[in-house]
Amino acid sequence: MVNMKGIVFTTDVIIGLSFAIIIILAFISVEFESTFPEKRYERLNYVADDILNLLSYLKVRSIQDRPTIQTLIQNGTLKDEDLNKTVLDLIGSFWYADNRTLAENITKEILEELYDDFCISLTTSNESIYSSCGINTQDIAVRAKIDSGYELGRPVSGHIARAFLSSIKRKTTSSYSYFGGYVGDGNLSIILTLPSFEAIEEAYMELDVGNNFTLYINGNSSGSYIKGIAGGGNLRSDKWTVCNTTFNPLYCSYFKTGNNTIGIYFNNITDNYVGGGYFKVKYNTSEMGSEQENIDTYIFPNINGFINLFSSFYIPGDLNKLDVHLHYKNNYTTYLTIGNTELYRNNDTNEQIVDITNTTLSSLLDYQNLSRKTIPIRLGTEAYFTAMRGNADVILLTDVSGSMNWRLDSSSTGTTRDCDNPNLYSPSTKRISLAKCLDKEFLDIILNATGNRVGLIAYSGKPNWIPSSNVQPIRSSHDLSSDQASLEDQIEDDYYPDGATGLCGAIRQARAMLEQQSNASRQKYIIVMTDGLANVQCDLVNEYNTIGCIPRFCPNTDYCTGGGCLYSQCGDYVSDRASEDAVNDSCRAYVSADAIIHTIGFGPVANCPLANTTLLDIANCGNGEYYASGNATELQEIYRNIAEEIVNITFTAQKIEVSGEAAMDNILYPDSFIQFNYTPIVIPYEYGEISLTRETERFKVFSGDDIDIPDKEGWFNVSEHIKIVDAKVTSYSSEFWTDRLYVKNSTEQWDRIYWLGDYGDIYIVLGDPFIVQLPVNYIDVGNNSVRIGTGTSPTNATGGSPDDRIIYSLRLKESVGYGGVFNSSEIALDDARQRLIDKVGDYVDFDLEDVDIESKSVSGIRWLWGPSLFNIMVWEK
């Protein structure tokens, strides 16, 4: 028991002591802080406040003894004005100029000496500029400030400026006067209107001129000019500076305010024309341009000689009213054509003053069709002595087979008659007699146009035996020639009927003559006349062998190489293979000699279906027409029509060729005009837009100095910053017609936007533009290419000039904001202007002379970096 009691006692004591010790230890472990935590944090905040305040307002000058600052002063990085920056400005300037080490060093040299018992860190944009020690606590005071400051190296105050284009500068500008596509034939003058000006800077002209001339400015001789000496030539212009302030200044003194007469007086009697060009005067003036009106006038040039004008005008809107006033004296018939409508024709030889009113014109013209288009106009002279220049080579094939000895209407022998016989067109006349006369008349028409040539082939087939393997179809021939007498002698002397009908051999001979005697620049025709059916077959191997073969009667086909046989049809013998050979040779002539083949069914053959089919096939394969008649008068009409069509289509020159005595005292007075009233297409001005006119380089810069056939290519780039409001393409066409303009933009597809062929195939009655309008809706941002060319007919292109170019008007609105800080407002303004020029110059050729620049300077401006957020963090060490 005693032992048991002792154990219990001991246990109680131990438990009691344990409780007591636990309680004591619990109390002892409780610590009492000497200050409240919020007071310490408050203290950190005060320190952070002080540091941020110090950095924000302490000037660099007061810490210039710091090593880093001293170094920066010594190496010139810090200038005296920089010492007035605040320390935080300086740190920010270096930091945001990527001089981060400098920023850190400056911060360190200031902050590390301030407190011994605190850690300090400066950060900006979540990046540490400087930290005195690592962060090992969560009790951190943070003070933040958004600040900006001077950019180092910039003036701390000064002037800044911005600039924007405000208006066209009218101090220096130019006036133009354009010639048409062809203005002739004689001495010429045009009117050039000048506003009130202070001084003429330069007079300049570009002309594709036909001959040497003397220039007159307001009646004063202003120099003699020699064609071709200044870059001119076929489809090229001579470029002459007439005068400027140092070169022939006397000539410049001849100009006056208002209308100036620019006279071109030729030194010879031929080639007195201008085939496109313009006269430009550059001058100083303070007069502003007038607003666009809805009335415009085309003024005819003054022509002394033969009135022969090919030109155009453009109506920049919807045509409402048109009036024509003509004042002229012409000893011959005068006619006026607008588009393809002849509006006026008169053969009165007295001085004429003619007004064609809107009432008349509106009934003759489709005003809607004239609107917003380049419209050709033609004012011409028609007289018996005038002739046009052609480039046709025509081979006239005449059938002299035995049947040509018969009457026109039957297989009976006809009567021989001369061309002046009144019964020539009687059915009783021998076919050969009629054919010879029609051939001569054909010659007369074709050769009336200087430059055309005719070749002759009389064909049949001899020996005319059935069968015969060595048949010569060519009875006589005459090379291409413009010698009408020689050709007529050939017809008169060598055309007599005998033999078969060797059609294919004759066509072969014609093709060979064209290939040998003509060239690619000339238009070639073959006129095939026959009164019978083809019955001489041709060599299938040698395409130039004219010797043929007359086969046996069907069904025997073994005589001629390649088969074939004769049978009777329409009162004659025919071979199907001979017909096929003729068609095939027609195709060859068209393909290899570029010849158009017309066919004429002469006499009763017109009523023979097989003959019609063959002749139609020959014409079709030669891209020509088939005509046929058994009536002599109708045949005469057919020959005439073919000849006249060839003459019209192959006119190559707008120049009048005078033969014989002609009265030269014809005058087109300069008060003649076409006035049009229209509703303009208004492209509204946006606020701040200005307008400029620009020229591209000549097309030779883009596509070489050659005359490219059928057209010449050039291009221009349009920036997205500009708006094209007008564009036109010049075309030096010499004595040809500017007949085509194509444009290609971002669509990569060539669109034909002008085609003289729309007004007809016969160019000689149509006008010829020197300037072809390029509709702005075809112009895209980016590269815009154009092709322009000339021709004498829709099928005969004569090429585009390397001197052509695009002239376009644009609008732009541009400005530059405030730039650098400068010590003077003048420098700031110059800087703004230069920045504006540099900016605009990226997309348009630009010159200070072109525009006024409105600029504004503001003084006392600092060049700022930032604003940026700076944090000062403080915590206890």
Binding site: F9, A20, N53, L54, Y57
Partner: protein, 157 residues
């Protein structure tokens, strides 16, 4: 007899001893804790007053450019720098009134402004001597465009 004798047993004596020791310890500690809390409250109060005294140097006061005759609220800064005129005005105002304006009546205070070389630029107040309780603060500001350090001491006897 046996039952009565058990009350004064050794067990009882041991238990009483332990209890008394525990109570004694608790009493002593309670006294200590009370003193500690009081000291902390006193220190914090001094710290508050110290902050008041130091913040006077970092505000402009009322009026902004006060002088001894019109001062309503003390403040020794203008344009983010210590204003020497205002500093000198402290002398005109006098120690006791400054104490009142700052709101530290129960403590003595001492200001010392010195530069980076520890050269005294300005001082005001009573230099601590035989101080029983003393708190001090270091602040940084700008005087005449240069860095100046401010030492503020609050103390009581």
């Amino acid at each position: 007899m046996s039952a009565k004798g058990q009350i004064f047993s050794i067990d009882f004596l041991v238990a009483c001893t332990i209890f008394l020791i525990t109570v004694t310890i608790l009493y002593v500690y309670w006294g200590y804790t009370t003193i500690q809390i009081e000291e902390t409250r006193f220190t914090n109060d001094m710290t508050d007053k110290l902050n008041l005294a130091s913040q006077v140097w970092f505000k402009e006061g009322t009026p902004i450019y006060w002088d001894s005759s019109n001062v309503i609220e003390l403040g020794l800064q203008n344009n983010h720098e210590f204003n020497e005129t205002k500093m000198n005005n402290l002398n005109s105002i006098g120690y006791q009134r400054v104490m009142t304006l700052v709101g530290i009546l129960s403590y003595n205070f001492y200001y010392r402004l010195y530069d980076e070389n520890n050269s005294t630029l300005f001082e005001f107040g009573l230099t601590p001597s035989n101080s029983k309780n003393l708190v001090r603060s270091k602040r940084v500001g700008i005087l005449n465009g240069s860095i100046a350090f401010l030492e503020v001491v609050l103390w009581s006897i």
